[in-house]
């Protein structure tokens, strides 16, 4: 296409007006007559035997319509899937229970469900359910949990549920060659998604006995899992996905859906269930804490020659997606660096903490904290500029990932993005007062977009050109706020030469829309973007061919612009789109298309030594910050924050910048204030008063710099940005703190107290 009309233009999103006017109906904004209210009874203990459950009193309470426990669930033991098309083997299919049975494994685990006429009655019913527990010791530290003889969280003989590795070269040789070796251990914390919309939905049975679930979910393919739990055919459960009030991976696993389905099935009535903020923080998945031991060696000239890493991730009480997350961490353990000798070993371990699963970044931010801190240390030891040492070691096009050996055939925008992010900091700020010290930090990284290739991922999309020249799109794509839905409209508008206002899209409904796969893994622009592009181009071809006959010119001389089929380079000569459509309809030419896009497929790798391609492609980025550290209180203020990514091609620059700005602050919270604190499995940060995310008053104006290499696998060369955008910032901040006060923080978050304890060692000795 000569030049873009819609794609690449910063434009208001399709969904923006409904949102700004408060008209968009989120999961909790919708009700049905006769609707019941559901509540969940949750375990008081992180680890305990369930001796007995007595629901009789609760059932007798007036207005209570159903009380369910594990024995009422047709298939209570199930495994986490997320819509993959290929069989990937037991290693990845983590068991979880819909309702706790015999044993509870974390505090807040669901034990019983209640549906009642009002929320108050449902809550009262919870108090009337008598559960007799026998507390068990439990285990809360993944390192402890790995030891032989440790308390067993599950029923298997070990707490280790995932065990991955990859290696290249010879690390013995590497360490022998190295002039300097740094060995260190880092820890990162539990993180909550903290979307402002908690998990929620409503369910009902339609006239044909189908369970309809209207819910905020990143994975509408879960309709199959819900059907399996109830023992129903898959076509008897329908997901109607709402626009989400934020997802960040927290709405990737099933949240309320199974509970809703069970209660609706039992009562035959509509049921609503919405989590409280406390429930959301206490009972739903978290980002994995990792314990990471690194030993890295480099030559005097700053060249990295060897990396040996051991990663241990805390899966919490049930596997969910932990093995996948740990695999991501394994593949990303060496970062975007060329290191000849590498060994990575990683373990994924059950504990009696709240379960962990997908959280924006999916195992990538954790190792990034370590390798970017370590390379910063090398830079200082060798007295090399932080940008230079990254130049010396970073991957470039044609090079291979140092963990798996996957070769980068697509464009690698390193060190370009690093140079731009670093330069964008501009002149250093004046030091505000004598007690504050200014420092700067840089970090680079990479993250895949699109599913692991052995999952054989695909997406489908349907596009129809109506007889009046308007367009209908049907795509199962869920939208968690990133503008996924609007992005598809832009692509179609571009290809068919019509304005956005002429397009209507139906999304995220398993009864109405072809399945587009999950809004996870930063895959939708790549996968559903391509599927929709394919469908649109098929229709474009039909229209142009027909117009070519009528205009009697060669089809490749024609273009679709402004609702016209125009002759390129002579736009005075054209056929109105509407006439081309008429002609097609008269001739019986199909002006609709359901297209499928498949990602590259590979076989499941040897997980003990992962080699070759595991992801379709990666997004490369860099972030830089300038901080002021208060040397007396330890408080850190981020004064400047720049973020630069090669996004391939920005379909809507506003949305892409939005991801980069939001991702940066999401990562800033990770670095400085956010931590779900658990003491022996009991969460003591259950609200937004204790779980501290940044407010507007805490953030700098993020400077987002887009590099558009066109080198991506998505439509028009686009890459994914959603998760990569938050995966690099934390170490940049840690490096800036070091630059300011010479303190290396090795556990997140970098609280004022941690900084002061390191700065004022003598004081705290006494």
């Amino acid at each position: 296409m000569s030049e873009f009309k819609v794609v690449g233009k910063p434009m208001p999103r399709d969904d923006a007006w409904a949102k700004v006017r408060g008209e968009l109906k989120y999961a909790d904004d919708f009700s049905l007559p006769g609707m019941l209210y559901a509540k969940v009874l949750r375990s008081k203990y992180p680890a305990a035997k369930i001796i007995s459950i007595d629901t009789s009193k609760a059932k007798q309470l007036e207005g209570v319509r159903a009380v369910l426990t594990a024995k009422d669930v047709p298939h209570n033991e199930t495994v986490t899937r997320f819509g993959q098309s290929s069989e990937v083997g037991k290693g990845f299919e983590g068991l979880y229970r819909v309702l706790a049975d015999k044993k509870v494994r974390f505090m807040g685990e669901a034990v019983a469900l209640v549906a009642a006429d009002t929320e108050e009655i449902a809550e009262e019913a919870l108090d009337l359910i008598v559960v007799e527990y026998e507390p068990l010791p439990g285990v809360f530290d993944p390192v402890e949990a790995m030891k032989p003889g440790a308390y067993l969280v599950g029923e298997n003989g070990t707490n280790i549920i995932g065990d991955f590795g990859c290696s290249q070269g010879d690390i013995k040789k590497g360490f022998a060659e190295a002039d300097i070796i740094i060995e260190d251990a880092y820890q990162v914390s539990f993180v909550d998604h903290a979307y402002l919309e908690t998990e929620g939905g409503i369910s009902w049975i339609d006239d044909y006995g189908v369970i309809n679930i209207r819910v905020g979910s990143q994975v509408i393919e879960h309709f199959r899992d819900v059907a399996d739990v109830l023992g129903l055919p898959h076509n008897k459960v329908r997901y109607i996905g709402t626009m989400m009030g934020g997802g960040f991976g927290g709405k990737e696993d099933i949240t309320v859906e199974t509970y809703l389905a069970l209660l609706t099935w039992k009562t035959k009535k509509p049921v609503r269930l919405v989590y409280t903020r406390e429930e959301s923080i206490l009972c739903h998945s978290k980002r994995h804490p990792f314990v990471m031991k690194y030993r890295v060696g480099a030559k005097k000239d700053g060249k990295l020659v060897v990396l040996d890493a051991e990663l241990i991730s805390d899966a919490g009480a049930y596997p969910y997606l932990s093995p996948w997350v740990t695999l991501y961490a394994t593949v990303n353990a060496a970062g975007p660096y060329c290191i000849p000798n590498v060994r990575v070993k990683s373990y994924c371990v059950l504990t009696n903490n709240t379960f962990t699963s997908a959280n924006r970044g999916f195992g990538v931010p954790q190792p990034n904290v370590v390798y970017e801190s370590l390379i910063d240390e090398f830079a200082r030891k060798f007295n090399i500029d932080p940008l230079e040492i990254r130049r010396i070691n970073c991957l470039t096009t044609g090079k291979a990932l140092s963990t798996t050996g996957q070769v980068f055939k697509t464009h690698v925008a390193l060190p370009e993005v690093a140079e731009k992010a670093w330069a964008a900091l501009g002149e250093p700020a004046e030091c505000p007062d004598g007690n504050k010290k200014i420092g700067r930090g840089l970090a680079i990284g990479l993250m895949s977009y699109g599913r692991m290739t052995f999952l054989h991922d695909s997406s489908r999309s349907y596009v129809k050109l109506e007889s009046d020249g308007s367009v209908l799109i049907r795509s199962g794509i869920p939208d968690l706020g990133g503008g996924q839905v609007s992005m598809l409209c832009q692509i179609v508008a571009e290809e068919l030469g019509i304005p956005m206002s002429r397009i209507k899209i139906y999304y995220s409904d398993t009864a109405l829309t072809p399945l587009a796969g999950t809004t996870t893994a930063t895959r939708q622009t790549y996968m559903s973007g391509n599927a929709t592009l394919k469908a649109a181009r098929e229709i474009r071809k039909q229209v142009i061919n027909k117009a070519a006959e009528l205009l009697n010119v060669n089809p490749d001389k024609l273009d679709l612009v402004d609702e016209k089929v125009v002759v390129k380079y002579n736009r005075s000569e054209f056929l109105p789109l509407i006439q081309a459509i008429k002609a097609c309809n008269n001739a019986g030419v199909e002006l609709f298309c359901e297209a499928q896009f498949n990602a590259p497929f590979t076989i499941t790798p040897d997980l003990s030594n992962i080699r070759g391609m595991t992801f379709p492609d990666f997004t490369f980025g860099a972030q830089a910050v300038e901080v002021a550290v208060d040397t007396e209180t330890g408080q850190v203020e981020v004064l400047k924050l720049t973020t630069c990514y090669d996004v391939g091609k920005a379909i809507n620059p506003l949305s892409v910048e939005g991801q980069m700005e939001g991702g940066s602050i999401y990562g800033m919270g990770y670095a400085l204030t956010e931590e779900v604190i658990m003491e022996k499995g009991i969460t003591i940060t259950p609200s937004f008063a204790e779980y501290i995310i940044p407010t507007a008053a805490d953030v700098p104006d993020v400077k987002a710099i887009l590099v558009e290499s066109g080198g991506g696998l998505g439509p028009y060369g686009a890459k994914g940005i959603g998760e990569p955008s938050c995966s690099i910032i934390a170490p940049a901040i840690l490096n800036a703190i070091y630059d300011a006060v010479g303190i290396r923080i090795k556990s997140l978050p970098a609280t004022p107290e941690k900084i002061i304890r390191a700065l004022k060692k003598d004081y705290f000795k006494k």
Binding site: T673, I677, A689, I692, T695, A696, P752, E753, I756, K760
Partner: protein, 285 residues
Amino acid sequence: MSQFKYVSPKTKDEALEILQEKKSNACIIAGCSNVLPNIRDKKIVSKVLVDISDIEELKGIVGEKDKIYIGPLTTITELVNSEVILKEGNVLHQAAEQFADPIVRNSATVGGNLVDASPAADMAVPLLTLDAILKIESVGQKKDVQLRDFFIGPGETILQEDEIITGIEFESSNINKNGCFIKLGLRKAMAIAVASIAVNLEIKENKIAQVRIVMGSVAPTPIRLTATEEFLKDKEVNDELIEKAIDKVREEVNPISDIRASEEYRRYVSGILFKRAFKKLTLAN
């Protein structure tokens, strides 16, 4: 199921009579920024909610020549916007500007913040350095209570179930005009103090004529550092004195460890906050 009742007296006397009748069944509400979450968490059950938010006589700020009166129902926003407070009780004004966030400041009241009796209470700390007096009433009875005698422990005060605070007063004086409040939180808005300090100071002939030092979040209640005050009294201000005073402050505070910070850090940072507040005031003079 929890059964609540609701009354909204329009006058102080009406309210007092209701309290006398209902006693412990009554729960006074006004700004609700603490009460409603507590009701949700079932920490408050089956009470008569006595909504005093419409009682005009308990609102507003009056500056007389020798003292300043603050109605307990005065919102934090009203403190922020008050010329009188800015001039006569600047330390309170500084604290009000850092209270919670701009929206909550429109609901939360001074009286509510005091009776909530949090060790971190952002209004209690500056009012204590202003040496404020509370006017407390029950049916047929009025008494003045020193604010420093008001707090017993976390969430506990001497206020009886049939009493309400009907006024908060502090003197118009040089020392009250010269104060500094510093709050150390983990973020810039919606923060609960890790530690906070208010200092009011009067210097005559280069000597410390009068000083009041109060800290929040470093003891079971907001605490007045009388020993440190004694130590400073009548002394000349110099760096050596301040260094010594910092140690005194760290001895005198009695913090605990919680999710926001450890006991050790709080003790340490108390000294820093003192130094900063004190220097700010002495440099100003």
